[in-house]
Point group: C2
Chain length 281, copies 2
C-alpha cells in the first residue's frame, strides 16, 4: 500500500517523518489514563536526566484517541480501558515502531488493578495472563473465525523487574498471575454493578478459584497485551498496583491522594529498569 495512516494516533507515513520523530525509541510505556502517562513522562524525564531547553515542556504528540508523550528513548502513551482500546493502540504502535525502524523496543503496561489476596498498594508484576475462564490465550474473531493466540509474558523481564524492587519500600512487590476481565463489575464478580444476579458466595467462590489458580490481581488489558506483543516478538511486561483486596470488598474507596501515591509505585519500578538499561548501553 501507499501511505499508512495510523488513524487513532492521528499520524501517518506521509504526513509525519516517523523515522526522525521516533527512530530513537527504545521503551514504549502504556497506561490507562492520559494524566497518569503525562505524569510518568515527567517522572521518567527526571529519572533518566533528560533535559528540555529552558522554556520548553512536553506536549501530547497525538491528541486524539490516545495521549502520547516522548522523552528521548521513552514513549509514554495512554491506552484507555479494556481489550479493544489497548488492542487498537498495540496495532498502531507496532506499526509505528516498524515505520520508525526501531529495533527491539521493550513494551510496558503500567497499570492499576484489583488485588486477589494481596493488600491494597501492592505492586504485581504479571508472570502469567488469563481471561475470566482461566484461559491463557487471547481468543478473538478474525474475518469471522475464532482465533486463539497464546498470552505469554517474557519471564526474564519479570525476574529482572522483580530484582529491582527496593526491600526498603513500605509495600510489597510480587510476581503472579493476572486475570483480564472484559467488564469491571459482573465480569470481576463485583456485587455493586448496575446488575447483579449472583450471590456473595458465588463471588467469593469465583475469587477463591482465581486465587487457587495463582491469580494475584485483576485488570482489563493483560491478555491482548501479552498475546499481541508475544505474536509480534516484542519483549513486554505488565506492572500494576492494586487499589484494594477483592477478597475484602468491591468498592475503590481510597482517597485521591493515596491513589496518586500508589499509582507511582509501578512507575518507579519501570523507570528504574529503563535507567539501568540506558546506563548499560
Amino acid at each position: 500500500m501507499g501511505q499508512d495512516i495510523l488513524y487513532h494516533l492521528a499520524m501517518g507515513t506521509e504526513s509525519h517523518n516517523l523515522v526522525e520523530m521516533f527512530g530513537d525509541v527504545k521503551f514504549v510505556c502504556m497506561g490507562g489514563t492520559p494524566q497518569r502517562m503525562e505524569n510518568f513522562a515527567h517522572y521518567v524525564m527526571k529519572e533518566i536526566d533528560f533535559n528540555l531547553p529552558i522554556g520548553a515542556t512536553l506536549i501530547d504528540l497525538s491528541q486524539y484517541r490516545y495521549s502520547m508523550y516522548k522523552v528521548g528513548p521513552v514513549l509514554s502513551i495512554s491506552h484507555g480501558m479494556g481489550i479493544s482500546s489497548i488492542g487498537i493502540l498495540l496495532h498502531e504502535i507496532i506499526k509505528l515502531m516498524f515505520h520508525a525502524k526501531v529495533k527491539n523496543p521493550i513494551f510496558f503496561r503500567i497499570g492499576t488493578s484489583g488485588g486477589v489476596g494481596v493488600k491494597g498498594g501492592t505492586v504485581v508484576i504479571s508472570d502469567t495472563a488469563c481471561d475470566e475462564l482461566l484461559n491463557n490465550y487471547y481468543e478473538t474473531p478474525i474475518v469471522g473465525n475464532l482465533v486463539k493466540r497464546p498470552a505469554i509474558l517474557d519471564q526474564s523481564l519479570v525476574q529482572e523487574l522483580k530484582a529491582l524492587a527496593d526491600p526498603e519500600d513500605p509495600y510489597d512487590v510480587v510476581t503472579g498471575g493476572t486475570m483480564c476481565a472484559n467488564d469491571f463489575y459482573e465480569g470481576q464478580g463485583r456485587l455493586d454493578g448496575a446488575f447483579c444476579n449472583y450471590s456473595e458466595k458465588d463471588k467469593m467462590d469465583y475469587l477463591k478459584k482465581l486465587q487457587n489458580h495463582g491469580v494475584k490481581n485483576i485488570e482489563m488489558e493483560v491478555v491482548p497485551f501479552a498475546a499481541m506483543t508475544h505474536h509480534a516478538g516484542i519483549r513486554a511486561a505488565v506492572v500494576c498496583v492494586t487499589f484494594l483486596d477483592r477478597l475484602k470488598g468491591d468498592q475503590v474507596d481510597i482517597s485521591k491522594e493515596v491513589m496518586n501515591e500508589w499509582q507511582v509505585r509501578p512507575q518507579k519500578l519501570v523507570a528504574k529498569y529503563i535507567k539501568k538499561l540506558l546506563k548499560a548501553l
Copy 2:
C-alpha cells in the same frame, strides 16, 4: 451497602448530591471522544436554547476516565473505545440515574463507524446489533459462566429518529444492522493492521457476508450498549456516521475538516429529537 462510589466517574453518593446534580436529566448521550462530546454539549445548548449566565461556560464534571458535560436535561459523555470501556460507563451511568431518581431517561450513542456498502458520510441508525460471528446477543463471562444477553434496540425510537431526517440534507440517513467488533483491524477484516494472516478475498467474502446479513456499518460498542440498556429497560438508540465504505478500502483517509463536518451529522439528528421531545413536554 452504605455509600456507592462510581469510581470511573469520580463521583459518589456521599461526596455528591446526585439528585440535585442530575435529577433533571432526560437524555444521556454518549460518544467516543471527549472532544466530540464537548462539541455536542455546546451544539445541543444552542439547539435547545439553554442559556448559561454571561461569563460562565460548561465544565467537564467527571475529569477522570470519561468526560461529562451537562446541559440542563442533556448529559453528554465520552465512552472511550470498545466493549469494556462503554460497558463500565453504562454500569455507572445506570447507577447514576438510579441514585439521581431519574425516571425513563433515553440513551443515545452518537458514533463514528465504517460503512458496508454505503458511502462515506452516510448516517446509520442501528435497527439491529450483532457481533463478528453475527450473534444478536452480548456474551460475557459473569463469575466464570458465559451469559448471553439479547442485544435489542428500541424499534419505535429508530423510526422516530428516521422520520426526523431532513430530505434536503446532502447525505443519506438510513436504518440497518450494525456489527460490533472487538478489534479495529483483524476483527473488521482490515488488511492494514500490525498482523494480517488472511487474503483480500477472505476480507471481501467476510464483508459481503455481513452485507447479506443486513449490516450497514461496523463499530465497536453497539452490542453491549443495546444489551445493557435493554436489560435495564432503557429506551436507547445508536446513530453513527460512516467515515468510509469498507467494500472500497480500509484506511480512514478523509481530512480533519471533512471528518469534523461528518461527525456533526448524527449529532444534528439526535439534537433534533431532543428538541422535539422537550417541546412536547
